[in-house]
């Protein structure tokens, strides 16, 4: 099995991909869009991309790509994030800190208190930052412990994120919805017919009536006009379960659009 992953070697997505399937052959892509397109163009059997972080929230691009393309979510993986400060030189040599924008945000307080006058340079991924830091003594990267090993960097500090408990949820996108396991999640996107009072409430009522647990509800702009939203909803259960299937059919008649992204074993 060929698995597409986001970021060069040492990325957290690589870690997620290995957690998902130890025996897969990994292909590395520069950004989330390329990782997703690799699946669409059949270069890989599935792709792993980050979807949500416990400190920073959703990855908007991943949600938007799920809306734009016909993709199936076939799995999810949760990885603990322990950001390290990596460099070839010493702390006092650091002039630039590079990392993925979300990683820079996750270490916002640490950076503000220790490196007030250092230039922050956001790059495509944490492992890309590590790769770049390996080529210059005055550049530090915020990246994983694995990246330090991979690119021969010293770990100057570790666990530097502002909140200790830092987890990222990754989704695996592929071609076939897996069979029910008894502990599954289903992801959907809905667009309400009208933005009138109570429209969202009526949809949530259908789920509440059947005691279906929503693990996540997140709005994203439709990109048509300001204040017009899609809702990304994750719920407990499999599309093959009768009560889920019936509820979604009922909701389909009440909304402007219902897109089922897939059912997959919960992480």
């Amino acid at each position: 099995m060929i698995i597409g992953t986001f970021g060069p070697e040492g990325s957290y997505t690589e870690k997620a991909a290995k957690q998902w399937n130890r025996k897969g052959e990994l292909h590395y892509y520069d950004d989330i869009q390329d990782t997703v397109e690799a699946l669409i163009h059949n270069e890989v059997d599935c792709s792993v991309v980050p979807v949500e972080n416990s400190l920073e929230g959703s990855i908007p691009l991943t949600l938007d790509l799920l809306m734009e393309h016909q993709l199936k979510i076939v799995g999810e993986v949760i990885v603990q994030i322990n950001h390290c400060l990596l460099a070839t030189g010493r702390l006092s040599d650091i002039k630039v800190i590079m990392s993925h924008p979300q990683a820079l945000s996750q270490c916002r307080k640490y950076i503000k208190s220790h490196f007030r006058n250092v230039e922050l340079r956001p790059v495509l991924s944490t492992s890309h930052a590590a790769k770049l830091a390996s080529g210059s003594g005055d550049i530090a990267a915020i990246a994983s412990r694995e990246s330090a090993k991979r690119y021969g960097l010293k770990i100057l500090d570790e666990n530097i994120q502002d909140v200790n408990e830092n987890y990222t949820r990754f989704i695996v996108i592929g071609n076939e919805i897996p069979e029910p396991t008894g502990n599954d999640k289903t992801s959907i996107i809905i667009y309400l017919q009208k933005n009138r009072p109570g429209a969202l409430f009526e949809i949530l009522e259908e789920f509440a009536d059947k005691n279906i647990d929503l693990t996540k509800i997140e709005s994203r702009p439709t990109k048509k006009f300001l204040g017009d939203y899609l809702f990304h909803i994750d719920l407990k259960g499999h599309i093959g379960d009768r009560h889920i299937k019936e509820t979604l059919e009922k909701i389909k008649g009440k909304v402007g659009m219902l897109k089922i992204l897939g059912s997959y074993p919960a992480a």
Copy 2:
């Protein structure tokens, strides 16, 4: 009146601040956090920061700062965004394109089709990018028409965002909730007591019962653990309106936390 704005001169936030109050004296800050802290430290009478874009969605940092600090939203401003490609040199000279990460995202398709091999460098703000581009012939900035004038750059292309209709909503944070005007919005944050099925539904039921229109509902992580959320809700009406006040009091008894951010005239 002294108004804090995000970004050096020429930023979209400066435009929003001028739209809000033509006569205010503007103070410029490097990032959203500093702009907010300027108000907390009484350096300014109010501050203007972006909160939501019609293509990219919410600005997570702004939402998180509203949760972390005791801030009052006293107004909102909507600004149309027309991104231009700015440089001192010619199109063929461009080796690096700089802009705010959201602006780079908003022009994702344009960049991919015209500049596949150009380095993208995210910086703190669009106007900061314009300032940097003015110092080098091979750097282009994605920024406003105003930035071109301000920093002596040529407009190589304009309206380059992927979707023509591109608006950003800014909030004004200040010290006193304005009186009702008859066309107001109220912003709140709630934390549900438990993440059990139907918990959010029960809250929305209260609003639906009183025919209160929710213009926005957005989840943000609590930063405690993955899958634990706060909800940012905007609704039509003023906290001084009886039905709004009573509904919020009722909801207060049902949730873990209710934070009222303010009531202000709708843009």
